[in-house]
């Protein structure tokens, strides 16, 4: 019971925080001045975007650590950040498409922000696919680290795209200016809850990666251990 509480406690706090923020964002806070109720996406969409980009930047740092040290912990951390980042990135794109339809009249436009975001998510999805295709752990770690470093180059481009190429996508949300101050805490609470959940999900995924690796290494060791036993046991019977 204590073990479960320790493992899932932070996640529960994150989900409760998110539920409180979303309840107030959806049912108590007023609609946005121009977008009306559609503007309520601002209580989840920018938070998802930032969490996704932080994951990809962290995956970049872990990829460098993996190449530098060759230690499997960095490789597993890189994969964990990349996987949670892709989950959040796919959510980010889906949220954006659902918001765009009532706002712009279409689900998708070839806006620099949307294109660079899609490239970012697809690149890191490619890193995860690459990891599935390469069986040798050392080669998998090297190749996927290099792929993650290349993919991460798009993250700052996504962030600055709305400043470099102005189009229909608005600039980054600023809680101090974009929200009525009475309800700024809702956006802040949602931000903290999303960050807490993201960190916790990466930790959970990292633990799974470590257990999986230990499991595979044990399985790989078994025939090697069994071989001399078989040889020794050849004269039995």
């Amino acid at each position: 019971m204590i073990g479960k509480l320790r493992r899932y406690g932070v996640g529960v706090v994150g989900f409760v925080g998110l539920a409180v923020a979303h309840y107030f964002g959806l049912f108590v806070a007023p609609g946005e001045a121009m977008m009306g109720d559609v503007g309520r996406i601002l209580y989840i969409h920018p938070q998802t975007a930032q969490a996704s980009m932080i994951c990809f930047l962290a995956a970049f740092v872990c990829a460098v650590g993996s190449l530098w040290t060759g230690k499997s912990g960095w490789d597993d951390a890189m994969a964990s950040f990349a996987e949670v980042g892709v989950l959040l990135g796919v959510l980010l794109l889906a949220q954006g498409c659902l918001w765009a339809k009532p706002t712009w009249g279409v689900y998708w436009v070839w806006s620099p922000r949307l294109i660079t975001s899609a490239v970012m998510v697809l690149s890191f999805a490619g890193v995860l696919i690459l990891r599935r295709l390469v069986e040798d752990p050392a080669r998998r770690a090297t190749w996927s680290a290099v792929a993650a470093i290349i993919s991460a180059a798009d993250v700052p481009i996504v962030w600055f795209s709305v400043k470099w190429w102005r189009d229909q996508h608005q600039m980054q949300s600023d809680v101090a200016k974009d929200f009525a101050q009475t309800f700024a805490w809702v956006a802040h609470t949602s931000w903290f809850a999303v960050m807490l959940l993201t960190g916790w999900l990466v930790w959970l995924r990292y633990r799974l990666a470590r257990v999986e690796r230990a499991h595979l290494e044990t399985a790989a060791d078994l025939p090697a251990r069994a071989a001399p036993l078989n040889l020794d046991g050849g004269g039995e019977g």
């Binding site: 998110l18 959806l26 109720d37 949220q95 706002t103 044990t218």
Partner: protein
């Protein structure tokens, strides 16, 4: 933009349902895999 966008609650609901579904689903998927693997490891150690 010429005026306040009317309606859109269906899209807003879809955004939040999708987000919550994905986060809870991923949590359950990772948690279940972790617990299954750990129990397999414990059984292996016991044997």
């Amino acid at each position: 933009m010429t005026g306040i966008i009317e309606g859109g609650w269906g899209f807003v609901a879809a955004v939040y349902l999708l987000t919550w579904g994905a986060l809870l689903g991923y949590t359950a998927w990772v948690g279940r895999r972790l617990e299954r693997l750990e129990s397999t490891t414990e059984q292996g150690n016991d044997a």
